[in-house]
């Protein structure tokens, strides 16, 4: 039972996308099917267009974070509060205004990762 961890990407190629808010790396289909584990409020699983809006294929580096709370790397990358999973080291791009507003509505401060 590992429900706390994010889905592990099912491929390693260009299908990978990154959540613009939390840098979680998954495939497009995974985002589509189950959304982002850290950013449920985007409701990507319900609104598939959101996947494109909230994720980007432009990222560099992958970190598999097994234990975000104790990992220095996770802390350094500001993902220590997120679920264990695969994250991107850097993300290019920012959330759109609209999506940023959604963050705000959900009382989540959005700090661009780029």
């Amino acid at each position: 039972m590992v429900s706390h961890a994010a889905q592990v990407p099912t491929s390693f190629g260009r299908e990978l996308r990154v959540c613009l808010r939390c840098a979680l790396v998954k495939t497009y289909d995974q985002f589509k099917d189950s959304g982002c584990e850290n950013c449920q409020f985007f409701n990507m699983d319900k609104d598939h267009d959101r996947v494109l809006e909230c994720t980007t294929p432009n990222f560099a580096g992958v970190i598999s974070c097994m234990d975000p709370t104790s990992s220095w790397a996770a802390r350094w990358l500001r993902i220590s509060k997120f679920v264990p999973g695969c994250y991107a080291l850097t993300v290019t791009g920012e959330l759109s205004e609209e999506m940023q507003a959604i963050c705000e509505d959900n009382k989540v401060r959005y700090v661009p990762r780029s």
């Binding site: 590992v2 390693f12 432009n58 970190i63 104790s70 220095w72 790397a73 500001r78 679920v83």
Partner: protein, 1042 residues
């Protein structure tokens, strides 16, 4: 109980790995005491850590507030204190429910799923981190706290609620505060299969989850795969052993060698350089493959999901080949890569290639399809994979950009040049003023002190900041103010200097010192400099402002010299057509040949003359003429801001003005009239009748073909004479007359051009002052109406004076050859029209061509009218052949010819010293002109004496002086004072019928006689000696005092 148990299990696992930990399990039951003991042992270490973290937290002031500090303190206590306290602490700071929840450990099971630490408050970060640390460190020597820890952990995470997104979660903690410490897990580097780094990291995650599910958790914290580091994987863990354990069984990881990453280098591992420029719309990219390899393209649309993009290219299509292929006659020849060029659909259709025009579904725009390719506006639209294009470090050259530029668009902004492309390495130099462009110190200004590779040391301008700061060069950009004087150090404008007039982000607009034009440059390409240079003004054989030929019919002026080419203003009047041209495309430089042209009012204009454009697009512009080419003028107007101030206009659209034409405008009407309407235009040039004489437009070229030929003089005083050409230049010939044993020089062509030329030259002070002038006397009476403006007293005779003509014809004073030549060349039409003038009569039968009315000249009504009767050339005429430097620019003043009787231009009156007329007599041999000794004065004849500034008086010549002047007794009867008068100061008095006369010129000079009658300009004279009746020109008769 997943999470908590997991952590618990973690410990268990650790124990298995660590031998020492075997004991721990036993001690586990005794809880409190060992823990306390342990904690005490740990105390020191903790304090140390505490201090460190406090420091850290001070740094990140936003992050930690006082409460947090307190919390920290509490934590300390809590470690020593019994568990009760922990709870109390929790309830104090955290919400009650959480506290309650953790009180009842049974309930933890319910919350286990919420282990995720999202909801953690900031204050807890330190805590939670340490809470994870602590169990690790003491584990070796002390195990009793495991259960306690479990509870502790439960308590921590039990409080978390998933949905509780804390504001502070992504707080802008200064990254510095997160620097790794000795307490943190370490990074280990392992080798992995090349190209499978990412896969390895992701598999590691999967393995972790799988292992966890099997209750055999791995003790690694994270696995990092860097895109740029091939063949290596980083694993974060406390111990090397854990790393090896984790890697066991992973086929793409080679864990034989595990390298520890030094703490200092840990951040470097994770500080990945940002991914190269994101490919977006309007990004400039270069194609990596295919025939377009290396070509610049613009992204039209990009689909990141499918990783494809639509790009716009300059097509490299061989339409001929395509057409051939479509017609099934593909010759399969290997063709070279077609050059990129824009394609017009019409052209395609002309080749009968079927073109489909379809609307693109997505964008709704129309595209033309042919040959399976998509085109629009001459560009080729191509769908490519993002992998086949390169968007990194694209620095499009201006030429490339221009091809993409629509006519309407302007400037670099429109080209969508990313600022990143504007940055170049090594752009900074000591002393540059820079601004921090990114990072915490953004907008900080400083001065560069030192540049070391890509690190730049700057001295901040902020007075609160002391010392030198170091930046990467990409973090800085140069700072300039409007008005700074700068020099361009890179790019196509390299070397140019100018003043900044506009700053827009990275693009700076300069006002160039040389061309006075705006130049757009990148801020990275300029440095501050007080130097004023012209930039490059020379490239190859060509220099700035040269007139060059581009092809047979196109000429242009180089208006800008660039690094590897020129901007050339084409010679298309009224249009500013500037083309970039490579040196090899220039045919040749056109050398100045002192060309001339005519302006609107037929004034001759030449290089450097100042003209004003009087009509057309450039109306009002004025400036000196820089180049003349076939009736087109290149004018340099300093106030014209385009093309280096050059403009190209038709000569006919201009009006000459300025200093070189002063005084010219007044006679304009007269001369215009003269030139265009005067029917009596007559030329005096030698015209050759020898067969097949080569007659170019410009007359004779200096070629040997002419020399040696026998010619016949068609006009002028030598009219009818035959001779042999001994020398020929462009415009003159020297002819050895058969009958005279003399060599004379003459214009080789009907000298209309020459004559006009002379006229104009006389008008021009620039020539008047020079020695050329005497060689250009006007030889026709028609001239003087214009030019005698300066000599109002003698409106007619000036122009007719023999001396000028004689000089002109004098073999020893050849005419300035190039004058007439230029004239001819510059005004072929003029030339032609003049030659065809009916008045131009080579065979003028009568000896008085000037009887023809000269409109406006008042010729006939003057006393001089009588002289128009062709007479025998008189001696006086020849006397003027003496090299008297006739200076038209000195009106009224006697010419300074020392030693020789000067000829005063201001001679009024109609005494027969209008040798011009005489000379015009075809029958007159004009030999006299070659006898420098001869004078016209004779004793006893009556003359009118005109001394400058005095009234005219009659006088009688008494005797000759050795210097060529005469002693004259004033008074009608010679009773007055004796004065000395030069010949130029006296004039013959017109004799009346029955007056006794003396003949002053011609073969009968010196003979006395009686004027029997007057017939027009001729006088009938009965010679005293022979009693012969002679008909002589009135101008050759001097009245003898009675």
């Amino acid at each position: 109980m997943a999470k908590s148990s997991k952590h618990y299990d973690d410990d268990d696992e650790a124990e298995e790995v660590d031998e020492e930990e075997a004991e721990a399990e036993e001690v586990e039951e005794e809880e409190e005491e060992p823990e306390e003991e342990e904690e005490e042992l740990e105390e020191e270490e903790d304090e140390e850590e505490e201090e460190r973290s406090r420091k850290r937290k001070f740094k990140g002031s936003q992050f930690i507030d006082d409460v947090a500090e307190e919390d920290e303190d509490e934590d300390d206590e809590e470690e020593v204190a019994p568990r009760k306290r922990k709870h109390r602490r929790g309830s104090e700071f955290i919400d009650d429910t959480a506290a309650v929840a953790s009180d009842e450990e049974e309930e933890e099971e319910d919350e286990e799923e919420d282990f995720i630490d999202h909801g953690n408050e900031i204050v807890e970060e330190g805590d939670s981190r340490r809470s994870h640390h602590r169990p690790m460190l003491p584990r070796d020597d002390q195990e009793g706290d495991v259960e306690d820890l479990e509870k502790f952990i439960q308590q921590r995470y039990g409080r978390q609620e998933y949905e509780e997104y804390d504001e502070a979660e992504t707080t802008e903690v200064e990254q510095q505060a997160l620097l790794p410490s000795v307490k943190d897990p370490k990074l280990w580097m392992v080798k992995c299969l090349l190209g499978h780094e990412r896969e390895a990291a992701i598999c590691m995650m999967q393995k972790y989850i799988d292992c966890e599910a099997q209750n055999q958790p791995m003790l690694i914290k994270s696995a990092v795969a860097l895109d740029h580091l091939k063949g290596y994987l980083y694993i974060e863990s406390d111990k090397e052993a854990y790393v090896k354990q984790a890697c066991r069984g992973m086929r793409m990881i080679y864990s034989q060698k595990v390298t520890l990453v030094p703490i200092k280098e840990m951040t470097d591992v994770l500080s990945v350089e940002k991914k190269s420029v994101e490919i977006d719309q309007n990004t400039w990219i270069r194609v990596k493959t295919g025939i377009y390899k290396g070509d610049l393209a613009k992204v039209v649309d990009v689909d990141h999901v499918r990783q494809r993009a639509q790009i716009k290219l300059i097509p490299r299509i061989d339409l001929q080949a395509l057409a051939a292929k479509l017609e099934g006659r593909d010759d399969m020849k290997k063709r070279p890569k077609p050059a990129p060029r824009s394609i017009s659909i019409q052209e395609v259709k002309d080749l009968r290639i079927p073109v489909d025009r379809k609307r693109d579904g997505a964008t709704g725009e129309f595209f033309d399809y042919f040959g399976g390719l998509m085109f629009k506006d001459g560009y080729f639209y191509k769908n490519v994979s993002l992998k086949t294009i390169d968007a990194k470090g694209i620095e499009p050259s201006l030429d490339e950009l221009q091809k993409f530029q629509k006519p309407g668009e302007d400037g670099l902004e429109a080209m969508g040049l990313p600022p990143a492309a504007a940055r170049t390495r090594g752009q900074f130099m000591k002393g540059d003023t820079v601004v921090v462009a990114e990072g915490d110190l953004r907008n900080l200004m400083g001065i560069v002190e030192k540049v070391d590779d890509d690190s730049v040391f700057i001295r901040p301008k902020n007075k609160d900041l002391k010392g030198t700061l170091t930046f990467k060069d990409r973090q800085l950009r140069k700072f300039f103010k409007t008005g700074d004087h700068v020099k361009v150090i890179a790019g196509k404008h390299e070397g140019a200097t100018g003043m900044i007039v506009k700053i827009k982000n990275y693009v700076i607009t300069l006002l160039s010192d040389t061309t006075r034009e705006d130049i757009d440059v990148f801020s990275s390409n300029i440095v501050e400099s007080s130097e004023i240079t012209s930039g490059i003004t020379k490239l190859g054989d060509y220099e700035l402002h040269d007139l060059v030929a581009l092809d047979q019919s196109t000429v242009g002026v180089i208006v800008r010299v660039e690094k590897d080419g020129f901007q050339i203003l084409k010679g298309t009047p009224e249009r500013a057509e500037v083309v970039p041209v490579k040196p090899r495309d220039i045919r040749r430089k056109l050398f100045e040949k002192n060309l001339r042209s005519q302006d609107r009012d037929m004034n001759v204009v030449s290089i450097k003359d100042i003209v004003r454009v009087s009509e057309g697009h450039y109306k009002g512009k004025e400036g000196p003429i820089e180049h003349i080419h076939r009736g087109i003028l290149f004018i340099h107007d300093r106030r014209h801001l385009e093309n280096g101030g050059f403009l190209c206009v038709r000569a006919r659209a201009c009006l000459a003005l300025g200093g070189s034409h002063r005084g010219f405008e007044r006679p304009v009407s007269a001369c215009t009239m003269f030139m265009t309407k005067d029917p009596s235009r007559v030329s005096y040039g030698l015209v050759v009748i020898a067969g097949n004489f080569p007659r170019g437009r410009g007359g004779f070229r200096r070629d040997d073909g002419v020399v040696g030929r026998t010619v016949k003089v068609r006009m002028g005083p030598f009219k009818g004479y035959r001779g042999r050409v001994v020398d020929a230049t462009d415009s003159t010939v020297r002819i050895e007359l058969e009958s005279q044993m003399k060599v004379v020089t003459g214009a080789c062509d009907p000298s209309v051009g020459h004559q006009l030329d002379s006229f104009l030259l006389l008008e021009s002070p620039r020539y008047g002052a020079g020695s050329e002038t005497p060689m250009h006397p006007s030889r026709t009476p028609m001239h003087h109406p214009a030019y005698t403006k300066d000599y109002p007293g003698t409106p007619f005779h000036e122009g007719m004076r023999t001396p000028m003509r004689d000089r002109a014809w004098n073999p020893h004073t050849p005419m300035t050859p190039f004058r007439s030549n230029e004239w001819d060349e510059a005004n072929p039409s003029t030339w032609d029209s003049h030659t065809s003038t009916p008045q131009y009569q080579p065979e003028t039968p009568s000896g008085r061509p000037f009887e023809a009315p000269t409109p406006g000249a008042g010729w006939v009504s003057t006393p001089g009218a009588s002289f128009s009767e062709a007479g025998t050339p008189t001696e006086p005429a020849s006397s003027f052949a003496a090299p008297s430097p006739y200076l038209p620019g000195t009106p009224g003043g006697p010419p300074m010819t020392p030693g020789i009787t000067s000829y005063l231009p201001g001679t009024p009156g109609g005494q027969p010293m209008t040798p011009g007329t005489g000379a015009l007599d075809p029958t007159s041999p004009a030999i006299g002109s070659l006898e420098p000794e001869s004078r016209w004065g004779l004793p006893d004849i009556v003359v009118t004496v005109r001394k400058p500034g005095e009234d005219a008086q009659l006088g009688i010549i008494k005797e000759s002086m050795p210097d060529g002047s005469w002693r004259v007794a004033l008074g009608t009867s010679g009773a007055g004072n004796m004065i000395t008068v030069t010949e130029s100061e006296m004039e013959l008095v017109l004799p009346k019928k029955t007056d006794k006369v003396k003949i002053v010129s011609g073969e009968f000079r010196g003979c006395a006689g009686k004027l029997m009658g007057i017939d027009g300009a001729d006088g009938i004279v009965k010679l005293d000696d022979t009693l012969d009746i002679k008909i002589l020109d009135m101008s050759s008769l001097g009245k003898v005092a009675t």
